[in-house]
Every structure is written in structure tokens, then in C-alpha cells.
Symmetry: C2
């Protein structure tokens, strides 16, 4: 299986220059002190569209042929990729259609429309619906996570992280389809093989954990977690290969631990981490990840897209 | 009346170097689009202790004599200055006592204790209690806002703002005692006199508005606002002089407008602005401030210290 390389990630950074934010890194003396760690947070929630997703998506979009662009793109997503595809398509002057679940977070649906995307919501299989419409309308499929250009784009977050915290020992990343952790792990391990990369999945959506155990992508019949950003029902071929090659460990966390971590991040770091992002601190706070005291750790806060009503419930 | 000068603010930056964060600036395409402005937010809520306060307080602390330091310091505060004084005292190796209201935000009380400060809560007059204890214990009084070293320290936020958004037309700042707006306005007007600086007070705590009208510091018999960070019951002598000299306008906003703005900032910018900070967007969103379309505007988000329970109520 092909794995992305550092030159591809560096090229992605060139492609994305000027379109995206270089997101800052924050600390919390209190949270770090409680955990006995030098704790940093990479604030991808301040990225355009409120998540890391446009890094990969825009890189994917810029590698489409003129014909593929002219036909318009389609993707499927619970939300963050939806917004990112609509936003990136607008930057690239391409029409975007996004298939989203009937119960998608309303603010993500509205934001996707706000960026000019056509949203089609369905209670049926997202993938089947997406592929049917793609054939009917002859659209270009943009995969929400299992794509090498996408993974290379996400890897740019890893480059920035290493610049900001060069002495990092451990990086913790939430795992949905696995696009972000694949890119970040490739960027880190190709430069600093000693850095440990740990993935976090919700107990109710453990596709990657199961895929690693089985040695091939596992499709879940259902998922059940508050972390909609990590609720991908299957791991990708490419992402599984990257996780197998570059990720040291994948751990599971409960929704309760995620809620608690979300509140702590909000109160102590003053930023709104959506549940997918809060899962990283949840893994430390709940003890699912145990590290040598004094380790320097970066949690990637992958996004901040959460409805006000949902937030109110979780607090 | 003496006003601080640019060299004093530049000197404060030297004094503070290495102790404090250089806070980033964020944008919201959505909020800016709705208001027809190029809208930026200066994220002082990411500053150490969760507010801009340590800029001024640490600068004050570093200008104390050896004797003043040895005696220990005392201040009075609803919360943000309390935390900042406790934190800055710890940096400077000085003992800190802080007089806080009986009903102070609990997380601010805990954070102040967490930084090593002794907290004395009282239902009586903060100022009287503070001055009594100061005399009894022979402590060094550090004023929470009306001090030239303090104002110079706060001005460093203005230096950063102008570096990040050099083409800024208008800067909006919440006004409690007036320390932040005094320093920021001095930093801006001494470098770019054309920049407009607008202050925002809650309707229920309009000490500066009334002081400007009367031409001298007015003491309010009571204050009533959700913006505890802006609930100072009087303007300072120094701060009033700076506002008279450098601030173009001070407007009033309702608590309802502040709540709405807090939610918008959280949802759209992914950061937790406390009510005092959200007052800046509230003034734009409610129409209290009307600007030329297309103007480049920076709202200073002065802090993010708010209880989880209070936040839940406001959402």
C-alpha cells in the first residue's frame, strides 16, 4: 500500500499557502499540572470552516483535472468534511454537492449551505445515496477521508505542530475515518521517528480499532457516540495502512469522558472543542492513556463545530 | 493629568517579555459578512490567567521597590485582576492578598487561590475592606485599574494589535475601570492618530459614561450587569484622563445583547469570551456602534473567565 511521504506533505503546504490559517498552539498550566505533563493544544478549531478538514480537502481539490472540476464534486459527511468541501470548492470555483445524514448537526448543515454547497440529507446509507447521485449527475467523487492528497493536506498540521513544539514526545489525535492521524503521523514520523502518535476513538465508533485487530477495514453496522466528527462507520484502505505503519496505539474513550474533557477545555483553555476534538484530552484525563510524568504532549483539537443547544446539554 | 507615552508602553513590553503570551488575532468570515465589516478579534482570553490583566499587573509588580515587595501586595477585584495579581505576585516572588466580593464568580476565586493568593471575600465595600486590611497588615496596595504602570502594561496589547492588523480603522474595547482601553488607546493614538477607539459599557454599570458627562470620576451606588469584568463602580482619575484624551466614543449595551454576542462568538469563532469581552461584538451586533461598511475593525476579547454553570444559563 502506498504511503504519503514528507515531500508530498511539503508540497501540500505550498498548495495551501494563502488559503488557510496557520493555527496557533495553546497551553493550560492548570490541566498540564493536574496531569503532570507539559500539555499543549494545537488549535485546529480556529482553522477555516472550524476544523482541520479544509487542509486535505483543498489540497485534493487543487489536484483535480479541469474536466473533474467542471463536472462539480460530491462528497458524504456528517459535517466537518461537508463544510470543508463546500468551502474548498468555492475557493477553487467548483460546484459542490454534499450528502449528509438526516440528523446532522444543524449548524454544520447551515454552514455548508452558507459556503455555497448543495446539501442533500438522507436517512438511508450515506455512501449508497452519494454514489447513486454521483452516477446520475456525473459528478466527481471526493472521498471524505480515504485519499492520498487528502492525507497529505492534513499532514501540514503535523509540520506546524513540530515547528511550534519541537521537543514534543507524544501527539494525541482523534480517529474517525483516520485521515487526520494518517497525515499527522506521516509528517511526524518522517521527521522525528521517536515521537509517539496515539489515536483516540469513541467506544461507540471503534472502526479503526477493529480494523487494526482484523488487519483489514471493518465496516460497522451502526455507530453511537456524541463525537459526530469521529463517527465514521469504517476505516479507509489508505488510512488503515498509515495507522498500521505510523501510529503507536489507538485507545477508546467513553462519551462521558469526552463531555467532561469538553467542559474542562472550555473552562481552562477558553476554546470550544467539539466532542471529536475533546476526545484527546478525555483519553488523558480518564487514564486511557498513561504517560511518563513530565512528558511533552500535544493534543490536536481538530474542530469546534458544535450546536449551541448541544453544547448547553453537554455542560 | 499625566498620560502614558509610547516609550513607556514599549518599556513595559520589555519588562513583560518571556512572562506572557503574545496573543493571536482571529477572524470570522461569517460575523464580518453579516456586519459588512472586516472583523478581527484580539484573543486576550488566551492570555495567562484567562484575561489581559496580567499585562498591567505584572508591569506594576516589577516596578515595586524591594521594600514594597517584601511587605506583600493587596488588591480588590471581582475576579480577573484578582487572578492576575495572584499570578503576577507569584512570578515576582511576592505574597498577595485579594479582597473579592462575596458573590464573585467561583472559578475566579478558585483560580486566584490556585495561583497562591490569599482570598478574603466580603459582602461589604470592597474598597473599604481592602484599605482596612492594607493598613492593619502594612501591605502594598496595587490598584486594580487606576495606575500608570498598569495602563502602560495594558498598552502592550495595543502594540500587538497594530502589528497584526496594521490597516485597522476602528478598535472596540470594553470599559470597566478603564485600564485596558486607556493603555490600548494610548498605544494606538500615539502611533496612528487616525484609528478610532470606541469603548463599551454595560447599561447597568456606566461609570465611565457618567464620568465623561460630569468631567470627573463618578462613583455608582450600585451596579447591575452580567459582565462582572466591567462592573467597576467608578472610573479612575488616570483612566478618565486617558479616555478623555484618546477615546472617540463610549457606548452602552444591554445584558441581552451581551449574551447574544457571547453565543455568536462561541459558535462562530470557537472561543469562550466572558460577558465583558463579548460586549464589544454586542455593541456592533445591536447597532449601538454604526460604522462605514467595509471598515476594518478589531474587537478586543479581553477575557474568557466564566463559570460553566453561568455559561450554561447564558446559552
Amino acid at each position: 500500500m502506498t504511503l504519503i511521504t514528507l515531500p508530498q506533505i511539503l508540497a501540500a503546504r505550498e498548495t495551501l499557502a494563502g488559503y488557510l490559517h496557520r493555527t496557533p498552539t495553546a497551553t493550560s498550566t492548570y490541566l498540564g499540572g493536574q496531569l503532570d505533563l507539559n500539555l499543549y493544544f494545537k488549535l485546529e478549531l480556529l482553522q477555516k470552516t472550524g476544523s482541520f478538514k479544509p487542509r486535505g480537502v483543498l489540497n485534493r481539490m487543487q489536484h483535480l483535472s479541469a474536466d473533474e472540476k467542471a463536472r462539480g464534486v460530491i462528497t458524504l459527511s456528517a459535517g466537518n468534511a461537508a463544510q470543508a468541501v463546500a468551502w474548498a470548492a468555492k475557493q477553487a470555483g467548483v460546484a459542490a454537492t454534499v450528502v449528509m445524514p438526516a440528523g446532522a448537526v444543524q449548524s454544520k448543515v447551515e454552514a455548508t449551505r452558507g459556503y455555497g454547497g448543495e446539501v442533500i440529507q438522507t436517512a438511508k446509507s450515506l455512501l449508497d445515496t452519494c454514489l447513486t447521485i454521483q452516477r446520475e449527475r456525473n459528478l466527481t467523487l471526493v472521498h471524505p477521508f480515504d485519499d492520498l492528497h487528502l492525507i497529505a493536506g492534513h499532514g501540514t498540521a503535523g509540520l506546524e505542530l513540530l515547528e511550534d513544539v519541537p521537543h514534543v514526545d507524544v501527539v494525541i489525535v482523534g480517529v474517525g475515518g483516520g485521515g487526520l492521524i494518517s497525515g499527522v503521523a506521516a509528517a511526524l514520523k518522517s521527521q522525528r521517528p521517536s515521537v509517539k502518535v496515539i489515536g483516540v476513538e469513541p467506544e461507540g465508533a471503534s472502526a479503526m480499532t477493529q480494523s487494526l485487530a482484523k488487519g483489514e477495514p471493518v465496516h460497522l453496522s451502526s455507530v453511537n457516540t456524541i463525537a459526530d466528527g469521529l463517527a465514521a462507520p469504517f476505516a479507509g484502505q489508505y488510512t488503515l495502512a498509515h495507522v498500521q505503519a505510523y501510529v503507536d496505539e489507538v485507545v477508546l474513550v467513553s462519551d462521558e469522558a469526552i463531555s467532561e474533557a469538553l467542559g474542562l477545555i472550555l473552562e481552562r483553555c477558553k476554546v470550544l472543542a467539539e466532542p471529536a476534538a475533546a476526545s484527546t484530552l478525555a483519553a488523558l484525563w480518564s487514564g486511557a492513556i498513561k504517560l511518563t510524568p513530565g512528558s511533552t504532549v500535544v493534543c490536536i483539537l481538530s474542530g469546534g463545530n458544535i450546536d449551541r443547544a448541544t453544547l448547553k446539554q453537554l455542560l
